[in-house]
């Protein structure tokens, strides 16, 4: 089984699925749905096989597939995964499979929807497996096309604005990455796009200068900033985050699950894959800036979330706040911090996915998401008595994302704080960051009380509880959140060696 090109299979089976679905006869939505279940199911099975066969002792890249693609620029089709990308690959495969069930309710243009969805999954898989910068960049931008159409066609009220805003923001970021990529290619001695080779002799970028608009700048710092902006928009980091609430609120449920669950992680994954190993000095130089941005993300996201009246916008801003923990962990350069950051990327993926799926469940029934209606009257109210199972699930999701011990949210937050605190430079940031935990608890529980507890709002007394399909989508996430909360090693031991090597490379610089 080992000689099977497993990574290419996992990336291109959804693509094959897309073409098969487009070829299916019109007017048979169920056939399309079950076809897409199969075409996301196979990568999931492969992912599980991958999980068990991944060697947790070495930091080296595994399951490598290397084929020369364009000799003129010695670009290679170079796919491989290591400790950093395995959790993300598993998260992508799992969430895509679940989202196919979550979007069972889509009626308009079902074929188009599922085709775009499978195309998106192929793009995401590619980003996490590509080790050649050119290949990475192709997958990175190709992902934007399906997202644009998914948000634009099947989105909410002003979906068009949200779609174009998302596309413009991310494209602006990625064009900067294009320039940085080209510069890295031409400034590297044996011109190459291979990320690992670039990381190997990263000293070649040191003490070189580049002239831009007349002024002289250090090359590696400019390249670092170029890449950082490209990734920061995706994370999103504070000043570049304004597309997130729009894109999340207007996207259909399944798409906002993928958006929050996987796409946000690509930013931080990119930083860890490229900025850290290839420009260690620049990363050290910018570490305080990243830490400050991380803390701003936490506090700012929490404050904004507190004032939201729309359920989905609240969850969107909570994602901004939670990604702030990831940035904080990464910028702390400590073993616990970085491990906590990558763990938080995985945990946030599962807990936010649950929150968005649950918001989707409510939306499918009452077609509005108001905690408090814009005119001040009550949106949801006291529905716990009407939908007990739904309330139970929401409680688990809420307590996981506010970091209650015993659930996965706490593990990564604790690691991030322990790690950052053990770095004497950033102890005051931890104190400010811990305010974020407090705010997190405040706005999530405030929402829980407003929506579920208290007297029942008569409009919703005929709300039906969750059906088998919705329960099926939420069950695996529930189990993951609880199991990883109690014993996180199954995911934590995946990333250990790789992050240790990454940090030691930084340290040695």
């Amino acid at each position: 089984m080992a000689q099977l090109p497993i990574l290419s299979l996992m990336t291109f089976i959804p693509l094959l699925g897309m073409f098969v679905i487009l070829a299916l006869p019109k007017g048979k939505p169920n056939m399309v749905r079950w076809a897409s279940v199969i075409f996301t199911g196979i990568p999931l099975l492969l992912g599980i096989w991958l999980y068990f066969n991944f060697d947790r002792t070495t930091a080296a890249v595994q399951f490598v597939e290397r084929v020369s693609w364009i000799k003129a620029f010695n670009i290679e089709y170079y796919m491989g995964i290591d400790g950093l990308s395995v959790p993300m690959v598993l998260l992508t495969v799992l969430l895509s499979f679940l989202c196919v069930f979550a979007s069972w309710g889509i009626e308009k243009g079902v074929k188009g929807y599922y085709a775009m969805f499978l195309f998106l999954e192929a793009g995401m898989m590619g980003v996490f497996c590509a080790l050649d910068f050119f290949l990475f960049f192709i997958f990175w931008e190709v992902m934007l096309l399906p997202m644009y159409f998914l948000i634009g066609i099947w989105g909410g009220k002003d979906k068009v604005y949200a779609a174009i805003k998302f596309f413009l923001y991310t494209l602006a970021g990625s064009v900067l990455m294009l320039l940085a990529m080209l510069a890295m290619y031409y400034y590297s001695e044996p011109h190459t796009f291979d990320l690992l080779a670039l990381a190997q002799n990263h000293t070649q970028f040191l003490n070189k200068t580049v002239t831009l608009f007349g002024a002289q700048y250090a090359l590696d710092k400019i390249l670092w900033i170029g890449l950082f902006i490209g990734f920061a928009i995706k994370v999103p980091i504070w000043p570049f985050h304004t597309w997130l609430p729009w894109a999340h609120v207007e996207a259909p449920t399944a798409v906002s699950v993928i958006l929050a669950g996987v796409l946000l992680k690509m930013g931080t994954y990119g930083l860890l894959r490229m900025n850290y190993p290839i420009f260690p000095e620049a990363t050290l130089w910018a570490s305080t800036a990243m830490m400050i941005l991380g803390v701003i993300n936490i506090i700012y996201g929490a404050f904004c979330a507190m004032a939201q009246k729309d359920l989905k916008k609240l969850v969107a801003y909570s994602s901004v706040s939670h990604m702030g923990y990831v940035i904080m962990g990464m910028a702390s350069f400590t073993t616990a911090g970085v491990n906590g950051a990558v763990m938080q990327m995985f945990n946030h993926g599962t807990s936010t996915a649950m929150l968005f799926l649950l918001v989707g469940v409510a939306y499918d029934r009452v077609h509005h998401r108001w905690i408090i209606k814009p005119d001040g009257s009550k949106g949801f109210g006291g529905i716990a008595s009407v939908v007990p199972v739904y309330t139970g699930m929401m409680a688990i999701a809420l307590f996981a994302s506010l970091g209650l011990p015993g659930l996965s949210g706490f593990i990564s937050e604790a690691l991030v704080f322990l790690g950052t605190f053990s770095n004497p430079k950033y102890q005051s940031y931890v104190v400010v960051g811990s305010l974020g935990i407090l705010l997190g608890a405040a706005y999530l529980l405030w929402m829980f009380m407003r929506v579920f507890l208290g007297p029942l709002n008569e409009e919703h007394k005929d709300m039906t509880d969750m059906n088998w399909r919705e329960k099926l989508t939420l069950l695996p996430l529930c189990v993951l959140v609880i199991v990883l909360g109690v014993y996180p090693m199954p995911v934590l031991n995946l990333m250990g060696p790789t992050l240790a090597k990454l940090l030691s490379a930084l340290g040695v610089a």
Partner: protein
Amino acid sequence: MLVSLKAFAPELTLVGFLSLLFLLDGFVPKLRENRFPLIWVIVSCFAAGVATAVGKGLSGDFFSGLVTETGLVAFFRYFFFFACGVTAYVTLGSKEIEERGRSEFSLLILCMTFGMSLMVLANHFLMLYIGIETVSIISFVLAGFNRESSRSNEASFKYLVYGAVSSGLMIYGISLVYGYTGALSYPAIAEALIKNNGTHPFVFYLALVMIYAGFAYKISSFPFHFWTPDVYEGSPTPVATFFSVGPKAAGFGALLHFVLTALSQKQEGGVFTPIAGIQLAPVMALISAATMVVGNLSAIAQTNVKRMLAFSSIAHVGYVLMGFVVMTPAAFSSIIFYLIAYCAMNLGAFWIVGIVTDEKKGSELSDFKGMGWRTPVMGVCMAIFLFSLTGIPLFSGFIGKFLIFGNLIQSQSYLWLALLGVLNSVVSLYYYTKILRAMWLEKPESSDSAELRLPLSQLVGLLGLALPTVILGLFFSPVLEMAQRWITQ
């Protein structure tokens, strides 16, 4: 003399087919109505292409220095014949050109293609001028092809005034150069310039700028682009399609040829350094930046899709001009690649605009509402073309930009131009997706949401253009090697 004729084979075959059509048209009136003239054009283009393939291998000067054969010329010949063939194929399906005008139309595009290849062949100012004038005069007529519509007439009037003035300036400039260097053929001028080693009188620069006026008008770069939007909007869509690809490429070919032979010396390793005293790079950088910015910004606020695509073609001229800033063989091969990619996607985009104009009698954005749902294949092709024009990976447009920006960054100078170019492509996304938004994101009015079935020929044609845009986006090394071979030959 005979040898020169052999080098002239493709043009001769073209003229042969042209005159045959002319005669047939005169004597067999019933041929005029049906599709015979257009198919005849396609056949003649194919024959000319074969002739170029056969005549390959000849290089050097012919017709006593008037004309020269290089790899570059071969490329441009293929390019023109392909463009002319596709335009004819497009007009087959288009309703804008009435049945009876078809034979004149075919005659005119064939003659124009002949003029274009002349321009690129030219190694001598006179031949250049003749080529440019043939192309211009015929395009004035083509612009005004719909006699009844005052918009088409107005387009041709504007094109006429603008064209005449620019070529007038050009010939005046040529006369000044002739006066200064005493020679008209490019190599002779180059020698004369080298002799003066670096110090040139003011009048020579005036002449250079005037000559550039002629080229700029043809490729519609910044100072001479004002006519493009009005002409593209006014003239019938198949004509606009041909304008956006044919003459523009011819202008680039001629400019490339002129700059390489007349104004610079060929160093070892194929690098061309401009003759002392003529710093081309800063001026080119400025013009390219201005063209890009003007093209993209003006396109933002357009509501008519043809005008928008006109401005987008101006913007693409800006991107190609970036290649001229860096005079390395890699830069020229990326220009050629960019032109190939640009030709396919632009032809496709205009073709679809033509189809929609036929269907909805207008090319405003509102006419595009919901077209994606009504004809999914066309919608997908349009998405491919527009995303490729923006420069999104997986499509050939991205590779074109990738190569051009790469050259700029490799030269480690003019990085600001690369940054400006990159930001421009983000801006371009905004107006390209306006079209996509109308086609896909908005539902068609309930009145005309019937399924629009396109004839098979158009579908095949569209896919014929869309597939290379995607394939070229992924496996572009064979084409790139061919381009490098053309350059070095």
